[in-house]
Amino acid sequence: MSSITRRGSRIWKGAAALVAGALLLTACSSTPPSAGGDDAAAGGEDVKIFMAPKFTGLAYFEVAREGGEQAGEDLGFTFDYIGSDKPDATEQIATLTNAIPQAPSALVVSAIDGDAVAPALKQARQQGIKVVTYDADAAVDARDLFVNQLSYELAAQTMLDAALLNSPEGGQVAFISASPSAPNHTAHVQIMKELIDTDPKYSSFSYIDTVQFAGDDAQKSQDIALNLIQANPDLKVIISSSAVSAPAAQQAIINAGLQGKVFATGFALPSSVKDFIESGASAAFALWDPAELGYVASVAAYQLATGEIKGEEGETIDAGDAGTYTIGKDGEILYDKPLMFTAENIGDYDF
């Protein structure tokens, strides 16, 4: 029994030595990684801005990030891009919660669930961190400003215009959205339906009332598009405000050998639809410039952080070459610069 106990204590001594060794090892290497953090905390006047997209890795958000980085270079602030690669609200909440102790001057956020992230954003604001949303808004009282890429009305019109370029004689339209809980997608579809019902310009269209949800997933979007084509022989155009679903639907049309007979359109990165447009399979897709959107949002965040603006209605934000914008009701800034990609101009865009 005593030999076992002695052996036991030797094991624990060994373990203790191991832990102590590890402690010592990490203690030694602790200086370089923490230096960066100390620097940022020490430079009292340095402006540090974090951009948190819905999730990282999606081309659209990576392009918006470039705009934020550019703003950081132009105005001389530290820019950091934070977030999880999983499209979960909980992941974004964790990201934002952990951003607060790092005391950035401002957060630039595309909210994955505008109400669920609101408590975290409010907490940030209580600690003096300015909050600007872009792309997808959070609850109004949880942020200072929202840079809206396109008003819902203009977005709906733009997509229907793109549909007309594809199918000038109109026809039946089907909608694919990301999820029932994406407020902008829901509003887009609602307004498109109203426009088809009431606006003579779009009266040649009819629509399938049921909206399909593809969750910004390319595979699922292709499946849904194929089902829509097979179930509705009269279908002419599939419209999606998801930059993932719109090109995926076009791919499904090509896979089914129906290019020129059925069209997909909506919002998409030009790089993702270049082949479709150049081959003539599709006449038009639309979007805005996500880099410029990220630029304007980051400039607005910087001006809030430095006190140049307070975020009140009527104030203007001068974003240099990216334009001048006026803050509207509820702290909303309309970017409102739709881009229509056609065979004539698709070569001009590199994002």
């Binding site: 076992i4 106990t5 052996r7 036991g8 030797r10 094991i11 060994g14 373990a15 191991l18 832990v19 590890a22 402690l23 990490t26 203690a27 290497s29 602790s30 990684p33 923490s34 953090g37 100390d38 905390a41 974090f50 999730f55 990282t56 890795g57 950091d80 891009y81 934070i82 977030g83 999880s84 690669d85 999983k86 499209p87 979960d88 609200a89 909980t90 992941e91 909440i93 964790a94 990201t95 919660t97 952990n98 607060i100 102790p101 790092q102 669930d113 109400d115 669920a116 992230v117 609101a118 408590p119 609850a139 999820s179 029932p180 809980s181 407020p183 829901t186």
Partner: protein
């Protein structure tokens, strides 16, 4: 003493890993060792902890439930609806826990009575329950909850968030449930061999249904934490979080084949995962690297005990006389 070390070897390993993870995190970010921030971050993991403890007895019984995050969404959306409708919290919580327990029991009945594979059953209800949540939530989700329903998320016991206290109480509850009750003993027996348990007079079906119903109720409770922390509910609440929950249970030393594991291990693995994720998020480590670290940790958690067994077996074969003690010594540093 030796028996104690042997039987709690995994928990001991987790404690060492937590210490190492904390040291690593504090080198990653100067903001890590801040008690306010640490407690805030702990509150973030309560939702997953409640689901993990609910899942724990099911895994011990050798089954799985991947529908729990969908059940949470039903619970959160239901609570939000009841709150907006003006139902008092006590009644609202009771209704929600009952509904979620029922959803769990449906899983249990399909698995235990109908004898269907639990992965397939709960894969189906994962979608079905998510659909119910979307229908109950409507397109825009629900906000404007009464303060009564959101109070838990903004209550502190001393410096500790009330939700964290809740998670610790639940952890202790499941420790007792699985360690000292007939249900617990039956669960381990069923996990080791359902057939033998049945012949031994254990009510396998009843214990399975109870485990699933309990997991459903825990998800409902997690729904309460959700609405109290985030003051809103939507159909897609906690979508995708089940992988983290399963990771926590398996990393906690609960064999995915059933029959072993303790609540303490699950608690420690939650602390470990929380420490790692908080540290990496504070240091703005890119999302892909975070996923990679957690994934590697899970593979290691399954792989290390197996490697330990293999080494023990090999040494035992070579040196029969000193096999047990020698193997123990050799294996410990790893």
């Amino acid at each position: 003493m030796k028996q104690f070390i042997r039987s709690y070897a995994w928990e001991g390993t987790l404690v060492v890993l937590i210490v190492l993870a904390a040291i690593w995190s504090s080198t990653l970010s100067p903001y890590f060792l801040n008690s306010v921030n640490l407690l805030n971050s702990a509150a973030f993991f309560v939702i997953f902890a409640l689901m993990a403890f609910g899942l724990f007895p099911i895994v011990v019984q050798g089954e799985i439930d991947i529908s729990l995050a969908s059940t949470l969404a039903v619970g959160a959306v239901l609570l939000a609806n009841l709150s907006v409708a003006g139902i008092p919290l006590v009644a609202g919580l009771l209704i929600t826990l009952l509904v979620c327990a029922l959803l769990g029991a449906i899983n249990g009945i399909l698995v235990a009575v109908a004898g269907l594979p639990s992965l397939a059953v709960t894969l189906g209800t994962l979608g079905a329950y998510r659909g119910i949540a979307y229908i109950l939530a409507g397109d825009a989700g629900i906000t404007g909850l009464t303060p009564e329903y959101t109070q838990l998320g903004s209550t502190w016991v001393g410096a500790v968030p009330a939700t964290v206290v809740l998670a610790l109480v639940v952890a202790a509850g499941f420790g007792v449930l699985m360690g000292f009750t007939r249900f617990g003993r039956a669960s381990y027996a069923i996990g080791n061999s359902a057939k033998a348990s049945r012949m031994g007079g254990i009510a396998v079906i009843r214990n399975r249904v109870i485990a699933y119903a309990l997991a459903g109720a825990m998800s409902g409770l997690a729904g309460l934490v959700w609405v109290s922390q985030y003051q809103s509910a939507r159909g897609d609440n906690a979508d995708g979080s089940i992988l983290f929950v399963i990771t926590a249970v398996v990393l906690g030393g609960v064999s995915i084949k059933g029959g072993s594991g303790r609540a303490l291990g699950v608690l420690l693995s939650l602390v470990l995962l929380g420490t790692l994720q908080t540290g990496m998020k504070l240091a703005n480590v890119p999302g892909t690297s975070q996923t990679l670290v957690v994934g590697l940790l899970l593979v290691a958690s399954i792989g290390l005990p197996r490697a330990y067994q293999l080494i023990r077996a090999r040494i035992a074969a070579h040196r029969p006389a000193h096999a047990r003690t020698a193997a123990l010594e050799d294996a410990t540093p790893a």
